[in-house]
Symmetry: C3
Subunit: 223 residues, 3 copies
């Protein structure tokens, strides 16, 4: 067994000790096995997810379903005969789009009753005109996640990774802006947790230690 | 045309490229054309708003309506015969006050269906007894903003501006407190975005660059 | 009278001046006299509460009721015959548990109509598997607090206090983690404020100045 699996922020004793004191906040065992995994571009989110999913496969021969929220929305809308292709999605009225988002959320939550599911998405998406909300109230409450994960990295490391990506502008490499973005993502995750009762977990993806970050996600998935 | 109009955090190519990937988060084109503009005292919010409104007038000969939420509340309450003057407002029962807030929000949202509207307000108002909530759930969901703007400035610049204002106490010039206040305002804006789906935009009002900040707000208004 | 009672972030003049401008955000005088007091382990929350409660007793001969949310939940559940001991609470279905949480919240809110009440709890509880939400939407809206207080201390002071506690692991003394935890607690308090309209107050518990912190809490209780 890989030694990183033993790495814990608090050791198991600490956790057990904490439980009697805070038992009334403890999320229940039943319900959805759904983890929302978020992280800003350049934190290495995809690698962390892939590695954690591999760990579950190797250790328990179980397949974690990794879903994209947009794909789930398109499936709902096309089944209802509302759209033929993705381009048409954007032309739907706001109300219809929100209904589809709710239905997609509920459909994913349904899947998570019989399998471990990761929704790979964003809390806040940076655009030239502000941050888009990745987990609005009607989406996060439909999903009923057990945990919202924030994959984070050091702002300067994120800037460095982005600078190696030729499709990214230099503007996206401002360390101060990256710091603010990560800070606001934390607030968004906490807002989502407040609305649903989901735990919020920050997973640090330290340079060269993706296995440790994946082990944290593995732990959250298997809990 | 002023060169500041060309200034963008991400260039247009970046934005276009981002759209297909995140199309399902994109706010729809229809609905309210309402932007909530917030900022703590000393960031220069009023100047940014005035300059942006002038830009819209000059470039498109269009008048942006700038509204104060308190005034809208008073209008609703006095029309209903509940109050004769503003002082009476504060003596209304909490439930009545909340109903008036909702009605004021809906009335502003209605106006924003046929005109560009700015609601000039606060996310969190600092008092000697804590932060008052400027955008509680029932207000922000009634307003249905397309964007919540946070006008920000460097904490030391805010402290300096406040020190020039003889009506302000020295306590209000603590740079650490200003930093915490701005940080909490970001969390409040993100909570508002989560409840409504509104985008959240941080606009930096850098020293001597109010035109650039106003150009950002102009862009958000015209989107 | 202790000089610390005169210590104010803004002086009274500032507050009075602020009121006409922001009258429409002012919380009303009626309703619940309930203050939620939160703070991460090591900030000295219990001492601040005890000292403030003593101040109220000494100056007004009034008893502030200090409640633990878990105890209130257990009372509701055992009265309903759902459980015999606390261990059984954790085995209740999630839906039942949430109903109990709501009922406990409403029962506390009821008490706060005729007495000053402090709910001693957490915004976010750190565990080895992420942060648990101490004030989810259905709890905070049932409680209807007038104020959510964040007792804070300098991260290095918290780390030092924790290092003196032999039951705490060294992991819990990472200053960076403590800083992030406090920052996320602020976001959680702001989310609670947004959902309820409660004011959010940061009370600094500075080294050797617990009386000043308690005076701030005293002020919030008596307001």
């Amino acid at each position: 067994m890989n030694p990183v699996f033993h790495r814990r922020r608090y050791n198991e004793d600490t956790r057990r000790r904490a439980q009697p004191q805070y038992w009334w906040f403890m999320p229940m065992g039943e319900g959805n096995n759904l983890v929302i995994v978020t992280g800003i571009p350049g934190v290495g989110k995809t690698t962390v997810i892939t590695t954690a999913v591999d760990m579950v496969k190797k250790k328990h021969n179980e397949t974690v379903i990794v879903l994209n929220f947009g794909t789930a929305m398109f499936e709902v809308a096309s089944k209802k005969g509302l759209v033929k292709d993705r381009d048409e999605m954007r032309r739907l009225p706001t109300k219809t789009q929100r209904q589809i988002q709710k239905l997609a959320g509920k459909s994913i939550a349904q899947k998570a009753r019989s399998a471990r599911v990761i929704v790979d998405t964003h809390t806040l998406i940076q655009t030239g005109n502000g941050y888009l909300i990745g987990l609005p109230e009607w989406v996060v409450t439909a999903l009923e996640p057990k945990t919202i994960v924030l994959v984070e990295a050091e702002p300067d490391k994120i800037a460095a990774r982005r600078s190696e990506d030729p499709t990214r502008t230099r503007d996206s490499q401002d360390v101060g802006d990256i710091e603010v973005h990560q800070q606001m993502c934390r607030a968004a995750a906490v807002a989502g947790g407040t609305l649903t009762g989901a735990t919020v977990r920050v997973i640090k993806n330290r340079q060269g230690q993706v296995e440790a970050a994946a082990a944290d996600l593995y732990q959250t998935l298997m809990e």
